[in-house]
């Protein structure tokens, strides 16, 4: 059982959800997600759980954190829940980012809510050789993230679409600006699928390895329903499930739709 400790707006329509847990089946890793039931006990609507990436995790304090944007019915209901409310979560689910390889110069590129999983990743990577490129609509959406990432002491670059920070534009353009002078050995990225496609294209072209995390509509989050199938580029063309084999995939592993 999970209990809400805090559920507060940290940007325009963006909420930080901090939960306390009794116990977890395993330690959550960066890139994994939880599937959260947002309906009242006994209510059949909304029916499906909502998947959210782990933003932060603290084993000592038995805390798991999420950052979510209010976009529809489920996140609206979630945003109205008060502290002390008990929540029903499934997880941690899915395959995480890989951490253990010797990756050299690492870039993290996050757009919009795709930033959420990168924070816990950045924290766990523990490498000093990390550069983080984040983009969002405006400054207000980035402020919370900026503060958090600064706390990790990583090199941080910010862009916004509606106003000039480092540049006025997307995380992608920001990163591309740096790419030539500063080629990474490995890339982690999460954000709009269009951005993922571009990052993937650029990396494959330049022989840069990396991983991406995608958002697919999910029925179950546990691998039973095949709602989240991704076409692969493997020879056997076997589909992979975003909820089990993903949401993190190697660059070039699955077919993205831009």
């Amino acid at each position: 059982m999970f209990k809400i400790i805090a559920n507060r707006e940290v940007g325009p329509g963006i909420f930080q959800l901090v939960l306390n847990y009794d116990q977890l089946p395993q330690k959550p890793e960066p890139g994994q997600f939880f599937n959260i039931k947002v309906s009242q006990s006994g209510s059949d609507d909304p029916l499906l759980r909502r998947p959210f990436s782990i933003f932060d995790f603290d084993a000592a304090e038995k805390k798991v954190e999420f950052i979510y944007r209010v976009v529809g019915k489920g996140t609206k209901i979630l945003s109205e829940l008060e502290a002390e409310t008990e929540l029903d979560l499934l997880g941690p689910l899915g395959s995480p980012f890989s951490l253990n390889k010797n990756k050299g110069n690492v870039h993290l590129i996050g757009g919009g809510m795709g930033i959420a999983p990168l924070y816990y990743l950045s924290k766990e990577l523990k490498s000093s050789n990390q550069k983080v490129y984040l983009g969002a609509a405006n400054k207000a959406e980035l402020e919370f993230f900026e503060e958090k990432f600064k706390g990790l002491g990583v090199e941080l670059h910010l862009a916004a679409m509606e106003e000039k920070l480092e540049i006025k534009g997307s995380a992608l353009v920001l990163w591309l600006n740096y790419l030539e002078k500063n080629t990474p050995d490995y890339v982690y990225t999460c954000g709009p699928e269009k951005m993922l496609v571009a990052v993937e294209r650029e990396c494959l072209k330049n022989n840069i390895g990396g991983e991406l995390s995608i958002e697919k509509r999910m029925g179950c989050g546990i691998g039973v329903c095949l709602s989240c199938s991704c076409e692969t580029k493997a020879e056997d063309q076997k589909n992979k499930r975003a909820c089990v084999e993903g949401p993190v995939f190697g660059l070039g592993e699955v077919v993205l739709s831009a």
């Binding site: 089946p25 039931k37 059949d44 609507d45 909304p46 029916l47 499906l48 759980r49 499934l90 697919k216 509509r217 999910m218 029925g219 179950c220 546990i222 691998g223 039973v224 329903c225 095949l226 709602s227 989240c228 199938s229 991704c230 076409e231 063309q237 589909n239 089990v244």
Partner: protein, 325 residues
């Protein structure tokens, strides 16, 4: 006081409860019956092939397990999005993603050998002949207690559901499958029909051992921001609690018309829903969408059914089949 006392004395305890049900076979030998330790059967396509649920509970606690629908050849399924949420329901258009019957036999069936509960293979076809091929391939497979003939998939073109809306086709396909396959045969019917009793009767006449109802209802959702259908496949099948009242009605209506058992399903979420289907006339009850939203639902539902039995002092669960008539 004396009444209370005597009631207490007679009280059925949990240990005495008998949840087992028998799905009778039309083939006269008793050994063809499908004996279930309880009425819960996983609904095809909502439980993978069982391994994933093992993280949540031992599926051998259930009455039977139905595998994801298989076809003659491997299918990669429809484009995504394949799922849309609706009010108290979901629309899916998975499109029968499956490895094909050959791989099913080679890869999936061996995995089910560990299970002690009856396994049913759900089969789908794009043509009448497909069903014959599938029945032939599965005939004699000892891993299986039977097959569920899906004449109702709304998610494949030029086949699937269309078979299920015409009593003659239901009759023909069922008859062919019956001639080939000697195990237990359940024919799964579509609710997208004016009168489901016509196809239920056709299945019975052709030798089906049981009918399953309902598969999903044809439905769609439009993405109003993009101004186009949300599912890549445009249409899909509606399931979940939203459809339960339609399913219960169909079971109720069919119960008096046929003599073979009904596997009732559609929107089961709680023990009370299992009871509702059984009172309407179902011998067994499928659990589908609930496994997706609440993977540990199986044992919870069984517990709730037991609680109901204790409350109403029902010793044999099968005694309530059709009791609401």
């Amino acid at each position: 006081m004396p009444e209370k006392q005597s009631k207490l004395e007679q009280k059925i305890t949990k240990a005495e409860l008998n949840l087992s049900v028998v799905m009778q076979s039309q083939q006269k030998s008793k050994q063809n019956n499908l004996n279930l330790k309880n009425p819960l059967i996983t609904a095809s396509g909502t439980c993978g092939n069982g391994q994933e649920l093992a993280n949540f509970y031992d599926i051998n606690q259930l009455g039977a397990f139905t595998t994801k629908g298989i076809t003659v050849k491997a299918q990669s399924g429809n484009q995504t999005p394949r799922i849309a949420e609706t009010s108290a329901g979901i629309i899916n258009s998975i499109g029968l993603e499956n490895p094909g019957v050959e791989n099913f036999i080679l890869e999936v069936l061996p995995e089910t050998k560990e299970y002690t509960l009856p396994i049913l293979a759900n089969i789908s076809g794009y043509s009448e002949q497909d069903f014959e091929v599938l029945a032939e391939k599965l005939e004699g497979r000892e891993e299986l207690a039977g097959i569920e003939v899906n004449l109702s998939c709304p998610n494949i073109k030029g086949g699937g559901m269309i078979f299920g809306t015409e009593p003659e086709k239901v009759y023909q396909i069922t008859k062919k499958v019956r001639e080939i396959y000697s195990g237990y045969i359940i024919v799964k019917l579509t609710p997208n029909i004016t009168d489901i009793t016509t196809t239920a009767l056709a299945a019975e006449a052709a030798g089906a051992d049981a009918v399953a109802m309902i598969n999903t209802l044809s439905a769609m959702k439009i993405d109003i921001e993009a101004q186009k259908p949300l599912l890549a496949n445009t249409f899909g099948g509606l399931s979940g609690p939203a459809v339960r009242p339609i399913a219960v009605k169909m079971v109720y209506q069919t119960f008096k018309k046929i003599d073979i058992p009904i596997l009732g399903l559609g929107g089961v979420k709680n023990g009370s829903d299992v009871i509702e289907f059984m009172l309407a006339g179902a011998t067994a009850v499928g659990i589908g969408t609930i496994n997706m939203t609440d993977p540990a639902a199986g044992p919870r539902i069984i517990k709730e059914v037991e609680e109901y039995m204790l409350k109403h002092q029902i010793k044999d669960l099968s005694s309530i089949i059709g009791a609401a008539h």
